[in-house]
């Protein structure tokens, strides 16, 4: 059953590129020491240079310096640090000021703004912040998944500390206008974090053009290894270290460095190029066109053009998403769905509900995300299979359409 398997769930995880593994192997067998100072031993000094070089590659991609990049275990940790770290730093500073009667009239700020369709790393971090006493405003999105900049502007109060809006959506691929959002935050004097897990290297993001204070990124979405990510922290951003331990990562995150991961991440970045992104975009549009034209009663979730080049998300009315995924799997295609039973949360996709869909629209949604190792032939094959599977399932559907 697994011969000729076509993997189309690249937003969740990607197949490692052999060239990434090749670079990483050196760090397991040749230079495996922890980074040491100049007065340390040679292998450690070399490790430090290797780590520094990886950090520089990531920094260059975002248009920043390597002093503003820390490595983490992935985007979930990055977003946790970004939100909790800045809020705790702020709260602590204010407390100190109040204790010393420096600014007693000033209340402790406690307001956070995010969107209702963020990935769990930001969404659930925000929910846990609510439990800690912070006020969180979850901005609604329009039917394509965009937040309204005016809504954001009006939601920022004197109490607001940070705004966290993702760059691209994990399920429907919608790309937010970070430049406008960033400018609003800058004008209003609040911090701005973005989760760029699903857009990093696939779409341009440069901090010299887009005013962002914190950016979460990860290697696992671009054919790099799992377990490594990074956080961009603009110089001067208040941040409390909450993974205590050694003095690694500019004393912002304790723990022995994951050098093979860092090297793999850097190599993965170097392997993405504009040609590849254009190729993904062509495959995406071909697949969307074929499905919308050939399968009746379908809805494209997300914006037709303002979406990541690797994302296709379609609702097939009158059919359950997990039935489609099962039947496609048996035909050799791995895809994902926003249907409840498929997810580990047992709730229908909060993203499809967020863009105004009802639970039925979420249940019938199928996400196909493309990667380096997919081909145009596979797009045609999965479109053919989808048309057949959906037609067959509708014939036996208890949901109404015969």
């Amino acid at each position: 059953m697994l011969n000729n398997y076509t993997y189309l769930d690249n937003a969740s995880m990607t197949r490692l590129d052999e060239r990434v593994l090749e670079e990483m192997q050196k760090c397991f067998f040749e230079n495996y020491a922890i980074p040491t100072s100049e007065s340390g031993y040679s292998m450690g000094i070399e490790s430090r240079e290797i780590l520094d070089n990886s950090r520089k590659i990531i920094a260059d991609t975002l248009g920043t310096s390597k002093q503003e990049i820390i490595f983490t275990s992935g985007n979930t940790e990055s977003s946790n640090i970004a939100l909790k770290g800045t809020l705790m730093a702020w709260t602590q500073r204010k407390k100190r000021e109040n204790e010393n009667n420096l600014n007693t009239e000033d209340k402790i700020k406690n307001h956070v703004i995010t969107s209702s369709i963020e990935d769990f790393s930001v969404l659930n971090t925000s929910k846990s912040l609510e439990k800690l006493g912070f006020q969180v405003k979850f901005l609604d999105v329009d039917p394509d998944g965009f937040i309204d900049p005016e809504d954001l502007k009006n939601s920022i109060t004197n109490e607001t500390i940070i705004v966290s809006i993702q760059h691209a959506n994990q399920e429907i691929g919608t790309v937010q206008d970070l430049e406008t959002i960033g400018k609003i935050c800058k004008e209003k004097g609040v911090l701005f974090h973005t989760d760029a897990t699903h857009s990093f290297t696939r779409l341009p993001l440069n901090i010299n053009k887009t005013p962002v204070d914190l950016i979460s990124i990860s290697a696992h979405t671009i054919h790099g290894p799992a377990g490594i990510g990074a956080l961009y922290i603009r110089k001067g951003t208040p941040l409390l270290k909450w993974m205590d331990g050694g003095f690694q990562e500019f004393n912002l995150r304790g723990g022995t460095e994951n050098i093979p991961g860092a090297v793999g991440f850097a190599k993965a970045i170097q392997l993405v190029n504009e040609d590849e992104n254009q190729r993904l975009l062509k495959m995406r549009d071909h697949l969307i066109d074929r499905i919308l034209n050939e399968v009746p009663k379908t809805i494209l979730n997300g914006h037709p053009t303002n979406r990541t080049p690797q994302n296709v998300n379609i609702t097939f009315e009158y059919v359950e998403g997990e039935s489609i995924t099962l039947h496609l799997d048996m035909r050799g295609f791995g895809v994902s769905t926003g249907s409840a039973c498929f997810s580990r949360s047992l709730d229908p996709s909060h993203v499809i509900l967020g863009i105004g869909g009802n639970p039925e629209r979420a249940h019938g949604s199928v996400r196909l995300t493309l990667g380096r190792f997919n081909t145009m032939e596979e797009m045609d094959a999965v479109a053919d299979a989808l048309a057949q599977v959906v037609e067959n399932l509708r014939k036996i559907s208890p949901l109404g359409m015969k």
Binding site: M1, E320, E322, H327, M330, N392, L393, I396, P398
Partner: protein, 73 residues
């Protein structure tokens, strides 16, 4: 060659197909997989999947609302 028997009586979509897939995956070429269940949609859905997989559907029987599907891997 062996005979695998799966009982999904009382289970609804998508469990019967999930269990059928699991059994077909572990079965060796030539093995017979026999699935017994009650969910009406699955009775149609499992043969559909078998056909798409190019496996042999040996028989589909139903008695008192309990169906039995035999498949050759």
């Amino acid at each position: 060659m062996s005979n695998l028997k799966i009982d999904v009586k009382g289970e609804t979509c998508p469990i019967p197909l999930v269990e059928a897939r699991k059994a077909l995956r572990t079965a060796s070429l030539g093995d017979i997989v026999e699935i017994t269940g009650t969910h009406p949609a699955s009775k149609k859905e499992i043969p559909m999947a078998v056909e798409a997989l190019g496996m042999e559907l040996i028989s589909v029987e139903e008695n008192d609302g309990i169906w039995k599907i035999k498949i050759k891997r």
